[in-house]
Amino acid sequence: MRHILTATVMNEPGVLAHVANMFSARGFNIDSLVVGRTEDPNFSRMTIVVSADERTLDQVRKQLAKIVTVVKVRDYKETPYVSRDLMLIKLSAAASSRSEIIELAALFRGRVVDVGMSSLMVELSGEEEKLDAFVELVRPYGIRELARTGVIAMSRGGATNAGTDEEGRTDQRPATARPAVRQPVPAKRQPSQQELEATPPG
C-alpha cells in the first residue's frame, strides 16, 4: 500500500539527512520525499510517500516522530486529502506536431511555458496518475527532458494538520481479539537459516 505522510520539521541542516537516513537504516522504502518551506521560516514541511503495510506504516510514523527535530507527523490513511505533483516536460516538437501537443496539454490543463525551434516545454500539475498518463501520451513525440517535484499533500476541510497523528493513538486501544499464535511483524526479508546461524554471536 502507498501512504502519504507529512512531517513538519525544524528548518536546520541535517534534518533531511536524518530523515532519509532513518528510512534507509530501517529498511523503509521511500517512493518520494519533498521538502519545502512553510509560512514560518523556522519550519519546513516534508511530504513523504512510502510503500508499506499497516504495521510498517505505524513504525514509520513513530520513528519519524522520534527524531527530535521532527515536530509533527501526519498520515492520511483515514483522512481525505488533496495531493499534487508538478512536472516540467520538454518534448521534441516539429512544426507539424506542435499543435497536437498544445492541444493535448490543454486537455490536461497544462500550459506551454517555453517554445523552441523544435521543442516545447509543458508545465503540468495534478495527481500523479494524471501526470503519468500525459507522459505516456506524449512519449511518441520524443521526451527530451522531464522533471517532477514529487507529491505534496494536504488534508481537506478546515482543520489544520488533520490526519492520524504520530502518537500512534490507534495503539492505545486494546485489541479485542488476537490469534492464539503470535503474528510476528512481517519481516522485510526473512533471513535464511544459514544466514541466521552465520550471525556473529554478539
Binding site: N11, D40, D171, P174, R182
Partner: protein, 640 residues
C-alpha cells in the same frame, strides 16, 4: 534547507499554548535544565511548559534573554554550565581544536579523567552513567578524537544511556574545506545519537547545552554530541542571549494513559500464569521498587533481560533470573507457558524472544515503555502503556489484586529445581563458571560489576546472584567488546567508595587494556578478573556448533596479563590452580588499590542453555542444565 536567523514571531503561539494537552506527551519548550539526580520523578518534564500544539507547532518561544554570559568565551560558558548542570566528573583527551576548552579545565573545578584512547573516555562516561544515573560527560578533540567516540556513542544509543560528548571542530569558516583534523562528525554520528549539534555561533551555545542535557537525560535517555568549532569556544558573547531550550519536536512521556494502566491491571488480575519481563528501562526510570512490589503483591514470577539484571532480587523465590538466548530454562519455559506477559522497559530484542512466531504463544501482552516506537515493533501488544515505567507502575500497583497463584508458582518452583544453571567441574583447570561463583561467594553479589562481551558475560549474568540495581554494567544492545575495563573505571569514578569488578574475557579485555594507564594514574581501585580461556570463547562456541569445529581466527595468544598489569604499576595476580580460586578472589577483593587477576580457565566450555537462531524459547538446548547437579554445594541447585 537553510538555517534561518530571522527572529521568530512571538505572538503566533498564543492560541497553541492555550490548548491543554489530553495526551501525556509534553513538549519540552522552556524546560529548565535539570536531570535525574536520584529522585524518582523527572523534574524538568513536570516543569516544562505544558503546551502541545494543536495544529502547527508552537511558533513563538519564550524570550528568556539573559546577560549573565556577557563577556564570557564559549569555553568559559561550557565549563560554567557543566557545573550548573551538576557535572562533577568528565572524561576525555585533548587536541588542537578543543584546547580552548581544556584551558578551562586547568583549574580543576571538574574532576577530569585523562584517558588513553577516546573510545575509553566514551565507555567510561557510559559506565559512570549506568552506575550513578547521572549523564556521562566526554570532551575530545576534532577529527580522530571525535571519530574514536563513535563506538561508545553507538553502545550508549543501543542501551539508552545518557551521555554527552563535546567534540572540538575546526573553525566554522573552514568547515567543508577538508581542513586539518576536520571530519563531518555530526554527519558520522547522526545515526548513533539521540540528537547532535554543530554549534555555529557562540550565542547559540547556552541554549544548546541546556537542550543537550534535557535530551540526553529525559524520556528514553540517550547520547548527544555537541560539535564545537574553535571560533565558538574562543568567541565571546557580548550582550544578552536567550538560553531557553527550544524543542518543539521533543515529547516527554510521563504518566501512562489511565485507561491503559487500568486495562493492563485488569488483564494481570485475570491471569493465572503471569510473568513480569523486566528490562533496562526499569533501571533507567528507577522503577525497581514498584516492579518488586507488583511481583510480591500479585505473586508474579519475574524475569529480567541482561540490562534488567539487578532490578529484581534474584534471591526471591519469584525470580526467574535472565531469559532469552542464554537465559534460564525456567524463565524461558515460564514465558512460553504464560497467559499474561508484562513487559516493562524492555524491547522484545531478538536475543530475548528467539523465533518471534513461537514467542509466548499463549500470552496476552502488556507493554509499558516510554518510547512509543518500541510498542508493537517486534511483537503485537495487547495493552500498550506509553509512559515512564516508574509512574505507570506506581499507578498500576494500586489496581493489582493479591492472588495466591499457587499452582503456577509451584510449577515455576519445580522448573527451578529441575533446571538450574549448571556445569560439570571435571577438568584440571577451573571452569569459568566456578570463577564467577567464587566471585559471587566472596562478594555476596554486592559489588558493581562490568563485563566484556562473550561467554564470560553470559556466565556473569547466570552465576552472579543479582539483587542490587545498577550493579550490572554491560553492553547489551551493541555487544561491544572492550567495554568492561573502561566502564569499570567510569563506574569507580562515579562510586569511589564501592567495590567495582570488571569480569572480563581475555579477548575483550585486551581491546581497551591501555586504560590500565588511566586506572593507574588516578589510582582507581578497580578489580579486573580476566576469565582467560585463551580464546574468543563465544566465537569458538559458534564455530564448534555451526562451523564443524573450524576455529577460524578465534584463538588468542595472550601476554602475561599479571606482568602486563605490574608494568602499569597495578597489582597483577595469577590464578592457575582451581584450589586457589577462593583465596585469589579474596586477595583481589581485599587489595586496596587496582588489581588485575589472570584466572586461567578451561577453554572447551559452552554456554547453556542456548536458544539457537530460528528456534523458539522452549526449544533451547539444555546442555548440562537439567542433569543432576554434580557439585552439591553450588547455590544454584538450592535456589527455588
Amino acid at each position: 534547507m537553510s538555517t534561518s536567523t530571522s527572529p521568530i514571531g512571538a505572538g503566533a503561539n498564543a492560541s497553541a499554548a492555550k490548548t491543554t494537552s489530553k495526551s501525556n506527551a509534553t513538549n519540552a519548550i522552556g524546560a529548565p535544565p535539570a536531570h535525574r539526580t536520584g529522585s524518582i520523578v523527572v523534574e524538568n518534564a513536570a516543569k516544562a511548559t505544558e503546551s502541545i500544539a494543536n495544529g502547527l507547532p508552537v511558533l513563538g518561544r519564550p524570550t528568556g534573554k539573559t546577560d549573565r554570559f556577557n563577556g564570557m568565551t564559549g569555553a568559559q560558558i561550557l565549563l560554567q554550565m557543566l557545573l550548573e548542570h551538576g557535572v562533577t566528573d568528565a572524561f576525555g583527551y585533548p587536541g588542537g581544536a578543543i584546547l580552548p576548552t581544556f584551558d578551562q579545565l586547568y583549574e580543576k573545578q571538574l574532576n577530569f579523567i585523562l584517558v588513553r584512547h577516546e573510545q575509553g573516555a566514551g565507555h567510561m562516561a557510559d559506565g559512570y552513567a549506568r552506575a550513578t544515573g547521572k549523564p556521562g560527560i566526554v570532551i575530545v578533540t576534532s577529527g580522530p578524537g571525535a571519530t574514536n567516540t563513535v563506538t561508545p556513542l553507538a553502545t550508549a544509543y543501543m542501551d539508552s544511556i545518557p551521555m554527552i560528548v563535546f567534540s572540538g571542530q575546526v573553525r566554522s569558516y573552514l568547515i567543508g574545506n577538508d581542513a586539518f583534523q576536520e571530519a563531518d562528525v555530526t554527519g558520522i554520528t547522526r545515526p548513533v545519537t539521540k540528537r547532535n549539534y554543530l554549534v555555529k555561533n557562540v550565542r547559540d551555545l547556552p541554549r544548546i547545552i541546556n537542550e543537550a542535557f534535557i535530551i540526553a537525560t529525559t524520556g528514553r535517555p540517550g547520547p548527544v554530541l555537541v560539535d564545537l568549532p574553535v571560533d565558538v569556544t574562543t568567541g565571546k558573547i557580548e550582550d544578552a542571549v536567550d538560553d531557553t531550550p527550544y524543542l518543539p519536536g521533543y515529547k516527554i512521556y510521563k504518566a501512562g494513559h489511565s485507561k491503559m494502566v487500568k486495562a493492563a491491571a485488569d488483564l494481570i488480575n485475570a491471569s493465572e500464569r503471569p510473568v513480569l519481563y523486566v528490562g533496562g528501562g526499569v533501571i533507567l526510570s528507577q522503577a525497581w521498587p514498584h516492579v518488586r512490589e507488583i511481583a510480591r503483591k500479585g505473586n508474579i514470577p519475574t524475569t529480567t533481560t541482561l540490562l534488567g539484571l539487578g532490578a529484581f532480587d534474584e534471591n526471591s523465590p519469584l525470580s526467574l533470573h535472565m531469559l532469552g538466548m542464554h537465559g534460564s530454562a525456567y524463565a524461558n519455559y515460564a514465558v512460553q507457558e504464560s497467559d499474561c506477559l508484562i513487559a516493562v522497559g524492555a524491547r522484545f530484542d531478538d536475543r530475548v524472544t528467539g523465533n518471534l512466531k513461537l514467542f509466548a504463544p499463549k500470552a496476552k501482552i502488556v507493554h509499558v515503555d516510554i518510547d512509543p516506537s518500541s510498542i508493537s515493533k517486534n511483537v503485537k501488544v495487547d495493552v500498550p502503556v506509553v509512559g515512564d515505567a516508574c509512574l505507570c507502575l506506581e499507578e498500576m500497583l494500586g489496581y493489582i489484586e493479591p492472588r495466591p497463584r499457587s499452582s503456577w508458582l509451584s510449577q515455576v518452583a519445580r522448573w527451578k529445581v529441575s533446571f538450574p544453571f549448571a556445569y560439570k567441574d571435571d577438568t584440571e583447570l577451573s571452569k569459568p563458571q566456578a570463577i564467577i561463583e567464587a566471585i559471587n561467594k566472596v562478594t555476596g553479589g554486592k559489588a558493581v560489576f562490568t563485563t566484556g562481551v562473550g561467554q564470560h558475560q553470559m556466565w556473569a549474568a547466570q552465576f552472579v546472584r543479582w539483587s542490587v540495581p545498577r550493579s550490572m554494567i554491560t553492553s547489551g544492545g551493541l555487544g561491544t567488546m572492550g567495554f568492561g575495563l573502561p566502564a569499570a573505571i567510569g563506574a569507580q569514578v562515579g562510586r569511589p567508595n564501592e567495590l567495582v569488578i570488571d569480569i572480563d574475557g581475555d579477548a575483550s579485555y585486551i581491546m581497551t587494556a591501555m586504560e590500565l594507564a588511566t586506572m593507574s594514574q588516578y589510582n582507581l581501585p578497580v578489580k579486573v578478573a580476566i576469565l582467560n580461556n585463551r580464546f574468543q570463547g563465544m566465537v569458538r562456541q559458534w564455530q564448534q556448533l555451526f562451523y564443524k569445529g573450524r576455529f577460524s581466527h578465534s584463538e588468542m595468544v595472550n601476554p602475561d596479563f599479571a606482568a602486563m598489569a605490574e608494568s602499569f604499576g597495578i597489582r597483577g595476580l595469577r590464578c592457575h590452580r582451581k584450589q586457589d580460586l577462593i583465596q585469589c578472589v579474596e586477595e583481589m577483593v581485599n587489595h586496596p588499590g587496582p588489581c588485575v587477576v589472570d584466572f586461567l580457565c578451561e577453554t572447551d566450555e559452552n554456554v547453556y542453555p542456548m536458544v539457537a537462531s530460528g528456534k523458539g524459547l522452549h526449544e533451547m538446548e539444555l546442555g548440562i542444565v537439567g542433569c543432576a547437579a554434580p557439585n552439591s554445594d553450588r547455590e544454584m541447585g538450592t535456589l527455588a
